[in-house]
Amino acid sequence: MDDLLQEFIAETIESLAEIDQQLLELEATPENEDLIRSIFRTLHTIKGTCGFLGLTRMEGVAHASETLLGKMRDRKLSFTPTIGTALFEALDRLKDIVEAVELNQNYTDPTPDQDLVNLLLALSEEAAESPPEAPAEEVIESEFVENFEPQESPEDVSSKETSPASEAPQKDISSSAEKILGDEVPIDQLDDLFADINTPHKEKAAQDASQDASQGDEPEATQDPSQEESKAADEGDSSQAEPLNEAPAVTPTETASSPPQDSPKSPEPPSPPTNQAPSTDGKNLAQSPKSVEIEPVKPQTKAPQRPATDANQSIRVGLNVLDNLINLVSELVLTRNQLVQLFQAEKQNQIVDTALSRLSYITAELQDEVMKTRMQPIDSAWIKFPRMLRDLTRDSSKKINLVQEGGSTEVDRQVLELIKDPLTHMIRNSADHGIETPDVRKESGKPEEGTIKIKAYHEGGHIIMEMSDDGHGLDSQKLKSKAIEKGLFTPLEAGSMSERQLQSVIFMPGFSTAAAVTNVSGRGVGMDVVRSNIEKLGGSIDLSSTLGKGTNFTVKIPLTLTIISAVILEVRGERVAVPQISITELHRIGSRSTKRIEFVKDTAVLRLRDELIPIIDLAQEIGMPPIIDKDNTADTYVVITRIGATQFGIVVDKIFDTQEIVVKPLSKMIGDIKLFSGSTILGDGSIVLIIDPNTLASKITDNRNADLNAANNQIVKKSKELDKTLLLIFDAHQKRYGIPLCLVSRITEYNIHNVERLENLYIIHYNDTLLPIVFLNGTPPALEPDALDENGDPHPGNFPMLVFSDRGRSMAIAIEEIISIEDLRLEIEFSAKTTGALGSTIVNDTTTLIIDIEYYIKSVFPNWFDDDSPNRSRMTEKPRLLFVEDSSFFKNLMIPLFSLSGFQIVMVDNGVEGLKVLEEDKNFNAVVTDIEMPEMDGYEFAQEIRKRSSLVHMPIIALSSKVSEEDVQHGIECGFTSHLSKTDQKVILEVLEQYKRKKDDGGADADA
């Protein structure tokens, strides 16, 4: 009995869902009698079965509804919205009762339904010529005395023939049944399957034949008074086969039914069980209620008016059967692969080869077909939307038209189950928040009726669903103020956000746009749940919205969770798989690439199109020695991954290829390792683990993002506003310092144990050289012998330092901690009294001293900047050039050139300054000057030089963009030694080469 009840429940849920749809259709086309008849029949079946099973409460409601529909069917009553609402109410009640039955609650006491029943009956009484026989007739029918009135109208036949225990025809395989116990598979797919596993031809032929036979007979039936009757006949047959039914052999159905079912005594018709013989239903009940339930064959020609409900043939198969099938097929695939590998070695045997390739082909086909059995059309997730919107619009006076496209797009039923709720939520949101009331819509020039469109299609292994409405769209400004009010971000952050970023705020937890909580949505759990559910599926959601025009959501989900496309990676010799859907880019780093891994604080980052992307070392995550080395010497790869808004890179050793893999769950014993979402077997039989990128993403968001966001924002801004300075903020000796980032050549670490004292200087060994290091308070930090680092390990003595390099010399400043990188217009607020600081500025509400790097450099290299001092100590024996040039472009262009050819350069902006330098320091091999300059041009400058006796012999090389005969002549008159074209670098270097030596010869006296 329990099995019977279970089946009844599953089936009734489906039938009710179908009625739901049909009622909606009926609302649109109240004159459609076929619909009325269909609903009537289905209700009648339910009622009958209830009576049989003793579900009196349900029977009462069903009966009252049926009475009402009966009146309509007999044209004694026409459909009105009131009736529609009452029927919907009845439908909901029936659903409730089914639930109650399932939970073993009240399903016998009819008192709670009395009001509803009365309402339904009252409505049916309203019919002007309501004859009292109608209800009576129904009662008779429910007592299964179906053969007493053989001359009844076809409709009546249909209603009474359906005996209580007979199974209602499974009309719509896509109908949504929450409690479905099995999966429904179109028969043709299963037939293919059977063919694939080599069903003996005889059997198949027999099957075909009997199918043909029944189909061949059916058209005869259609010659009877109405098509309905033949359908009714099918149903009638089921009751005949049923032991309870004591129907005599002569029934009206017989005239219409096919020969195999002629004998009512035969519980097993000659057709094989897989055939869609209507009588199988009866057999089911009588013999083994648990066996598959088979829907009567309804040839298409029979049901031209309701093709959707009748065309599909399906049987119900337990999910575990399908799962087993899938498992077996994957084993078969692996065995096939092994066989192929075995025989590839010895390629002589032609016969084996042929057989193998045949096996390969069939296995592949079989795999495809088996996978299809898990697929269901997506619209079974949508099936409730029309009803939902109907109820919603009735409550809110809105008018909404739902447009569905691509409902037959197929998706794995597991995905389907999981996507249902998020979709429902989104449609509700669109209806509740998106679509405006008719008068508002009118005002803004839109049609009164709003449109919600839902569309699905396949795209590269994914199913894309687009949900759009033509409502008022998202108001970014409102979202902004709301988000600020909720503390989701600061006004400052909000200011720099794009329209799209602002709109995405609706996906953030705790954000709901509805000003008031309605019974539809606005309860604060909203789009964030939708997004997280979709992402759990390995999918993504995106939105675009135009204020006043509407909102458009795009949901992308994988077709199946069982087979995914994954990239196979290698980390320290271990292969792992990462789902491809989350991967956006692959990059090579290391010596053969321009890309480098950099470090912001301790976070490894990759700079990608002006964005710093945090990097995860996968080797470290799986407990192996890290791959990332700070020198970037190793050749590695970075897999850029995006999970929602979090983007990060995974460092791996190797990237293999993309494969379609069958995801197998991990056993309980290792299921708690969150990093892995499953495992799979590759073509060569080896097992690899599948990385769950969500786990990695959560690590990023947990630890490092805060640091990085700051730095990242700066970099983004930096690319926009070039007039600002990037200031590196750091702590040292309890003080906050800042230094322009452009001055720092490296941020690295030193070890306190490597610091040595050399007179007044501290030096450290760094990369095989001695590097002077400055401690801002004068002495190295004292490291307690038992000091611990943040992990509680003995402190290794490593501290960060900033390295400054210039012209082959380097020095370091020891610091304690890097705080951030700030982008500021550097306004030093007052000149500091502190030595070593240029002044202070306020950064993020903290007074920050701006380091006077010159001071510290001088303390180490007194002569670093002293190239212009006459009594400089000769650090180098390099030849010296005085370069006078105002254009920074040419400065940047020429200085490397001069440096490369071995000169030391003193740089000034114009002739006046040049003269000043020369008056104090004549120790230059040559003066190189531009001609077009402010203050004092090149000609005047040369004349001034020549006026001074000590500089009479100083070579003056003029560089100019225009070198005409006239110019050269004028230049020589003014005292130029050479006059060269700025663009001819080769000549410039050749000329300068001469003066390197000249100083050694005759220039020495200038120094004397």
Partner: protein, 153 residues
């Protein structure tokens, strides 16, 4: 005449013998699906030391547990010593118990099992059903379910 009581008491159960570090153990044969040489395995990072890896048994993924570690006979998985795999099918997953050697199948009457007491080494108390004297050797009879439950605690 056997009374029903003694009949059930003497109804023999078959056990498969195996040894780790020369200590004999056995488990009920009914729970075993397969015995094979330990094949190539995929290591699982981050897991506990008793889990030796994943192996591919005709397309099904099997979690391999090194019994030597579970039974505290060795501290870590030793691929050279754990040469044999006994495949056990639980309701949800397949597991493989890695042992050093697999011996014959023996019948033991329930009456011959010394129910666990002080005779059982404390390391194995959680897994042991009892002790069986097999020739000169003392064999520890293990409860498969308990061996596998350990990982979930």
């Amino acid at each position: 005449m056997q009374t029903p009581d003694t009949f059930f008491k003497n109804k023999h159960t078959q056990y498969i013998l195996f040894s780790i570090e020369n200590q004999g153990f056995c488990i009920n044969v009914d729970e075993i699906q397969d015995v094979m040489d330990t094949p190539k395995m995929t290591r699982i990072p981050l897991c506990t030391s008793e889990i030796a890896g994943l192996l591919n048994l005709r397309g099904r993924i099997v979690t391999a547990m090194d019994m030597a570690v579970t039974l505290s006979l060795r501290t870590s998985h030793d691929p050279k010593k754990s040469a044999m795999a006994i495949i056990v099918d639980t309701e949800s997953d397949l597991y493989s118990l890695l042992v050093d050697h697999v011996g014959e199948i023996i019948s033991i009457a329930p009456g011959d099992i010394e129910s666990k007491s002080n005779a059982v080494d404390p390391r194995w108390k959680n897994f042991a059903v009892g002790i069986y004297k097999y020739g000169d050797e003392l064999i520890v009879i293990l409860n498969t379910q308990k061996l596998l439950d350990m990982g979930e605690e």
